[in-house]
Symmetry: C2
Subunit: 334 residues, 2 copies
DNA sequence: ATGAAAGCGCTAACAT
DNA sequence: ATGTTAGCGCTTTCAT
């Protein structure tokens, strides 16, 4: 493996001082056209690219934003990240994305890696469970997305999860569906608890029973399609629900396939709702009734708060609640 | 913004030398239990995390693999990346992922960023057009995935794209479909040209006409669902194909929705095939007939070649062609 | 077992 | 306009 070239190599080849090379690389207008050309030639000849670690070490804090998400294969999280990314590109800030796969061990390791990068801000999306880890951070530079802060120090961007599911459930109930199952990922986060509460409340208010109708599943964290598929098949082997409410579009898509495979129709026999409103939700067959989370916007706002020190959230009310629409499409009976 | 702590801070607080702190952080067995404890306490108290840039600067080459992909929102690319990631985790190598969005400008900038990271290897997935850029790399450390090297220097991992589409098309033709449309992303890569050739050859061999039946679309690069949807609607506004062959599962899913929205059925009226076999392909309605690319495996193999210097590909035949199965599901007429 | 000192590659401050 | 020098934070000899 050959050695990489350094400023010194370039400087020597061009017959100038290392600092001149640096000037050419960074603010070439400070250098005479002639020297600039010499240096350019040397850079070209050696294929010189500055060592990023040396550069970043010298000019801390480096302009980067750290993003931690549970599962970047899930389009929901990826859409939020694209929102952040878009803002990053506009402002010339780099983005460093890491994935925890809902594993606290990985989460800790990855957070440590991010800390070592000295980013100007941290955006935690979703699941991060370990509050202690976060307590080690300078909280001025942290924002949560789809995650609640219990310490009152960290701003978070969220939708009203309880109300979203409450509304969805109420809608379903009003469509004469009484036997309603609920399938959710068991990731231990507050938003998921809130959603569950919303479901229970709607059911209770209509005097409906939800005993044995709630499935909280670990499998629904990372293998949503498959888990949704398997859960509904297992349900259908002993009973036929009128509707299934899920907490993810991907779970819903797996559920729909399972229903069809068991010989039923969606929504004629069974209504299904998703959550998130991923891009595909309006293309699926049937199109998916779901709760829209403004994913892209969540990412953009998160970025603004992490970058912009002026944007302070009231410490007594340190959250931004975004509007989440219940979008009625074909997968629910009319 | 508070300053980050350094080794010196920790050393001072613990009453030891910086080098001792370093020892504790890296090979704590070299240090007496007592000092180790003192240092641990100081680290804890200051929430000290080493500056990654300083560490990496000191101990080059840092163990990381650079991955460049056109679109990490596309599950096809993300699956390949997960294959790489899996191997990275096993070997303790970091992965640095960047996205080009099919934009040569971004590609160049991101490649430069990656170069500055001094990774032990580079994996280029998909679209990278600029051969010149790559010529600046030490080719021993580069592998292509789903991309062909014309210089003969760089190993690449690929499926037989021409044959894959040839087989798919032939299958469709044999099912009595004669009016066959072809919708593909126009990303200017060799694999896409190969696929198109495969399509043409199959059509020609059966004496079928493909004039005005081939849609090469830029929109199909980044907005596959929407582009597929729009293209088929536009086709259906003037003619009704027997079948549509696409070069991406996402395009196919958009096409299917478009067909249904125009009042036709898949596959009864129109057969549709995808490409890649993304996870969702076996859950969609109808399930998707498609060409399976062993995405995860492609990522794993790429990693092995980039890391393992012993794994040399014959310079006269520097490619690994993986098996790609044509998977027949519901979206094609039987 | 621990400390002192050098240096990774770069840039910024200062000098010319 | 360009060169000299110092030092970012860390690890690694080399002493002790």
């Amino acid at each position: 493996m050959e050695k990489y070239h350094t400023v010194k190599d370039v400087a020597k080849l061009a017959g100038v001082a290392p600092s001149t090379v640096s000037l050419v690389m960074n603010r070439s207008n400070k250098v005479s056209a002639k020297t600039r050309e010499k240096v350019r030639k040397a850079v070209e000849e050696l294929n010189y690219v500055p060592n990023n670690f040396a550069v970043s070490l010298r000019q801390t804090p480096c302009e980067s934003v750290a993003v931690l998400a549970p599962d970047i294969q899930n389009p929901y999280y990826m859409d939020i990240i694209q929102g952040i990314k878009h803002k990053c590109e506009k402002t010339g800030v780099r983005i460093q994305i890491v994935e925890t796969r809902y594993d606290p061990k990985i989460e800790e390791a990855e957070l440590n890696f991010l800390l070592g990068l000295r980013p100007i801000g941290y955006i935690f999306i979703g699941t991060t469970r370990d509050e202690e880890l976060i307590s080690t951070l300078n909280t001025e530079k942290v924002v949560f997305v789809d995650k609640i802060d219990t310490t009152g120090k960290i701003p978070y961007i969220i939708i009203d999860n309880k109300k979203s599911i409450y509304d969805a459930t109420s809608h379903i109930i009003n469509k004469e569906c009484k036997g309603i199952f609920y399938i959710t990922q068991q990731d231990g986060t507050k938003p998921m608890l809130d959603r569950l509460e919303g479901f229970k409340q709607a059911m209770e208010e209509h005097g409906l029973d939800y005993q044995n109708k709630i499935i909280e599943s670990y499998e629904c964290c990372l293998n949503k399609l498959e888990a949704g598929y398997n859960h509904i098949k297992s349900i259908l082997s002993h009973t036929k629900p009128d509707a299934v409410i899920t907490t993810s579009d991907l779970i819903a898509l797996g559920v729909i396939r399972g229903i069809v495979d068991m010989g039923f129709r969606v929504p004629e026999d069974i209504s299904v709702t998703g959550f998130d409103n991923i891009d595909y939700a309006k293309y699926s067959i049937p199109t998916l009734t779901t709760v829209d989370q403004p994913r892209y916007q969540m990412g953009e706002i998160a970025f603004s708060y992490v970058i912009n020190k002026e944007l302070k959230i009231n410490p007594l009310n340190n959250r931004i609640v975004l509007k989440s629409d219940f979008i009625i499409r074909e997968s629910v009976r009319v």
